[in-house]
Symmetry: C2
Subunit: 243 residues, 2 copies
Amino acid sequence: MIDIIAFDADDTLWQSESLYFQAQREFEELLAPYHGDNGVVDALYETEIGNLPYYGYGIKSFALSMIETAVHMSDAKIDGRDIQRIIDLAKEMLSAPVQLLDQVEEVIAALSESYPLMVITKGDLVDQEAKVARSGLASYFSAVEVVSDKTPDVYRAVLAKHHLDPGSFLMVGNSLRSDILPVVSLGAQAVHIPYHITWEHEKVPEAAGQAAEFLEIEHIGLLLELVAKLEQGAQPESQPQRT
Amino acid sequence: MIDIIAFDADDTLWQSESLYFQAQREFEELLAPYHGDNGVVDALYETEIGNLPYYGYGIKSFALSMIETAVHMSDAKIDGRDIQRIIDLAKEMLSAPVQLLDQVEEVIAALSESYPLMVITKGDLVDQEAKVARSGLASYFSAVEVVSDKTPDVYRAVLAKHHLDPGSFLMVGNSLRSDILPVVSLGAQAVHIPYHITWEHEKVPEAAGQAAEFLEIEHIGLLLELVAKLEQGAQPESQPQRT
């Protein structure tokens, strides 16, 4: 029934959004002398979304958008040392230790004994590959696909490349928008594991989430049991399933 | 004899280094009031190489390194408007029209009738995918692999993923360091097409180039004839071959 299990990486296997959140707080403090605290986060978000077609996702894009926001919100009065501080923030994020979420290592190790596992993640190629390497999990995965965006077309291309049938493909991730809805739309199965912080851009209207059929668990520790039930063809009653 | 032909993209299919070259000249002019013209290019190069482990290749990395160099060389006195100008330069590069090199379109179209073709390129995922799309060549390629670096291990992984044998794999590109030497080291064949500008980082000591066995042509228009000769098993005498 399940031929392969694919995992999102950021905030599914390891912490990521908390790094952005922390950097954003430091960015607010850094801009306070120029602008006060008001509106920095909203302005940064607006700049990020405006820059997506140019930059795509990831920390380098985030850094360039922080710098642009700093210039804009300071009326170009931003000090060169503060620009350097933003660059240093980005480098700290890029070299931060990979903090696996609870029980990730044991669940991945156990699943890898029964299934080929892969990672499908979006963002900076170099950063994502480096995190897989630093995570200590690389040997459990038969493939790591870093993609520029997570649309149905992109998933379709990844499945085709690996000669996978959507009907026997299971995706696990924290983002309804990126990991769950596009996969379900192809007829594959998806398990949603919410993370406590969600970037504004990844949020979807509640109606969109309710219209799709997928499984949801509270933490990755419950995944082994869920997969076992799926394989038995049983409706996993103990899991909230939305229809 | 040849199962598939892979092409590098930047400066093999379309102009790229000239965009960097032009941006670098504007960057020098921009820094002149702070520092004079001296040493800007060297300082930028040093910053870029130092940042490679953090950022990898591509225009976003180049932009962040320009900004860092500007802060450093201006003793942090760089004006916010000049920072914005650097960001705008990067966006101009990212949205510049794709300028195909001479005869690329007809050669790719002709080869695609006899061989599966692929692109193997390093740099920003989003930028490289967008350039393939804007180039008008996408439909000729069965696969586009954007990689974080072009080492023998990376080529080995790409070949394995596509179930390709090095002995019947031909790589075409402008960089000895990235497109030719690592491929030849795996036992594959490679055709070098020099481009008139080479980024310092892509240069290799002459001895390294001379030690490897590969073919070289002056421009891509000569590729059809060369491939035909390779298929006939003939030593292509009219082409300079280094041993």
